[in-house]
């Protein structure tokens, strides 16, 4: 008996886009945006809706809003998660999307994909308590728990391939030029 795997990912559309963008690299240039507004203390509100891609302005179906704050152990109001936790949110969701897409492309049916993402962080860096300690994560650990119609090796290959094609994995593991200006 053969069944067709359905993880809800339209892989054909992605493959078609890959072919189309090979000859139109300018259409592949996207700009993602977030707008933030300070709310007092170390609390910030962020909204995300518009982005640019395929040669024109685009928009999400709805505006998304996020609260970022710091926990009470930081003597803060904890009205939202810590900014660095948003990096974990991004990494977990990007790798999971990758696992689903690669599984779809390889005809592997997924039943559940769960991940725990841990960022190890020495906060002496951001506090300026020790100049040898960096501000960001010292390392990040992702543990996947995947139930699928596939061997352990095939599942490991899914996870490896999803890292290979992950925007957030790349953005976190490789340096990126950042320009910060005052308008």
């Amino acid at each position: 008996m053969t069944t067709v795997a359905d993880n809800g990912v339209n892989v054909q559309a992605l493959l078609d886009a890959r072919d189309a963008l090979k000859s139109a690299p300018e259409a592949a240039q996207f700009t993602w945006r977030a707008s933030s507004k300070w709310q007092g203390g170390v609390h910030t509100n962020i909204t995300v809706q518009d982005f640019f891609g395929l040669g024109q302005e685009q928009s999400h179906l709805e505006e998304a809003t996020f609260e970022a704050d710091h926990p009470e152990v930081f003597a803060a109001t904890d009205k939202g998660i810590t900014p660095i936790e948003y990096l974990l949110v991004g990494l977990a969701s990007c790798l999971s999307a990758g696992v689903a897409s690669v599984a779809q492309n390889r005809g592997i049916q997924l039943r559940s994909v769960e991940a725990i993402v841990e960022g190890h962080h020495d906060i002496r860096g951001i506090l300026g308590a020790d100049s040898d300690v960096r501000n960001g994560f010292n390392d990040v650990k992702v543990t996947f728990n995947i139930d699928a119609d596939a061997s352990k090796e095939d599942i490991e290959a899914l996870v490896a391939q999803s890292q290979k094609r992950s925007a957030v994995f790349d953005a976190l593991s490789n340096p990126t030029n950042i320009t910060v200006e005052v308008a």
């Binding site: 490991e156 490896a160 290979k164 994995f169 593991s173 490789n174 340096p175």
Partner: protein, 382 residues
């Protein structure tokens, strides 16, 4: 046949001293010229390869015009006009056989490396003694990178190896050379028009192999045992510091998984071909050892690194080809060696028609098919 220098020119001038072929002698054959020496399982030195090609040139009475550099090829109404250092040639067809490795590729950010650090490519590296004293950063962990990292480390210098995606292979598997398995199980005969992803197959880096009398494996675990420090893919230079990727673990996983899938396919072939009993038992190799901690950056101005060896690949050079058949990435547009311009052909590019297209013995089947096409082309035009 036009040759810019002498027969086997690139083997004489563009190879480091210790290099040996990755293919065993019995596999390094040319039409009518089989290996008949005492060591069929050995690997030829550069000198021996040069000699083999010279012998073939003589045995085949190839009409070689050596010392003839091609400066331009132009399309004309009835064929091509080839300008050379020895005058102009008009012809109806041209076969390009200048290879895929005419220029070493060095990333743009090499410009940001401080002048105090000496830089080498595989074209100007000869042996460790010609490197300055001090630490060496080898960039790239394909065949060239792992071989040079090992040799430089053995010369007593501290070596750091920057590792991106790579192809891991054991030198021997179940008692046979791993390339025997590639040949026998049919991997190398896989055709270009039957592969899932031809672009990827054509860009596949050379496997981590070395041809030594000991027939030893030269994977990253072997380099770690030698004391080579592994770091991630070199991503950029900022303020005189090399910044490396933190994704090393995943390139290890990708390579280990791919190697194991290949070995699975060998085991399966051994069973289905009924030859399983001829070989030692299946084995699996230890996963690539992840270092307890890896450097994410290196201060290139500190004096710790005296030299950088770029083993970051090669590219073809079509600067002399004045026919619009080169794509934006600098690759020739062709279908199995039939170039996108009537009467123009190419041989000896990666997976031209088969996975073995770039091996000394592997070009033979391609050449027959491409020349068949060329002969039909000429015949159709009287």
């Amino acid at each position: 046949m036009l040759e810019r220098g002498e027969v086997a020119n690139s083997w004489r001038r563009e190879r480091w001293d210790s290099l040996r072929l990755l293919t065993p002698n019995w596999l390094s054959r040319l039409p009518g010229l089989r290996y008949e020496g005492p060591d069929p399982d050995g690997y030829m030195t550069v000198g021996e390869v040069t000699e083999l090609i010279e012998r073939f040139a003589a045995a085949s009475s190839a009409p070689v015009r050596s010392g003839t550099n091609v400066t331009s090829v132009r399309h004309t109404d009835d064929g091509y006009r080839v300008a050379t250092s020895g005058g102009e040639i008009r012809c109806r067809t041209v076969v390009i056989a200048s290879g895929a490795c005419n220029r070493p590729v060095v990333p743009q950010f090499a410009d940001g490396v401080p002048a105090t650090v000496e830089q080498f490519t595989p074209f100007d590296y000869r042996d460790p003694a010609k490197l300055p004293d001090g630490g060496v950063l080898v960039v790239g962990a394909s065949a060239t990178g792992v071989q040079l990292a090992a040799e430089i480390k053995r010369s007593g210098r501290p070596v750091t190896l920057s590792v991106g995606e790579h192809v891991r292979l054991p030198r021997r598997y179940r008692g046979r050379d791993v390339l025997w398995w590639m040949d026998a199980s049919g991997v190398w005969d896989q055709r270009y028009d039957e592969l899932d992803d031809l672009t990827r197959a054509r860009r596949l880096p050379s496997p981590q192999l070395v041809g030594t009398p000991e027939r030893s494996t030269l994977d990253l675990n072997a380099l770690t045992a030698l004391g080579v420090e592994l770091v991630g893919r070199w991503a950029m230079v900022r303020d005189g510091r090399a910044l490396f990727s933190g994704g090393l673990r995943n390139v290890f996983s990708l390579a280990d998984l791919k190697m194991n899938r290949l070995l699975d396919s060998f085991d399966e072939w051994a069973l289905t071909s009924g030859r399983d009993a001829e070989f030692d038992s299946p084995e699996r190799f230890a996963p690539t050892l992840v270092p307890a901690s890896t450097s994410l950056q290196l201060d290139l101005g500190s004096g710790e690194i005296a030299a950088i060896v770029w083993a970051t690949g090669f590219r073809p050079d079509y600067g002399w080809l004045d026919v619009p058949v080169v794509d934006a990435k600098g690759q020739l547009r062709h279908d199995g060696g039939v170039v996108d311009s009537p009467g123009l052909y190419v041989l000896g590019l990666p997976v031209l028609r088969r996975r073995k297209s770039t091996f000394i013995y592997g070009i033979e089947d391609d050449a027959r098919e491409v020349i068949d096409h060329l002969a039909r082309y000429l015949a159709a035009r009287g």
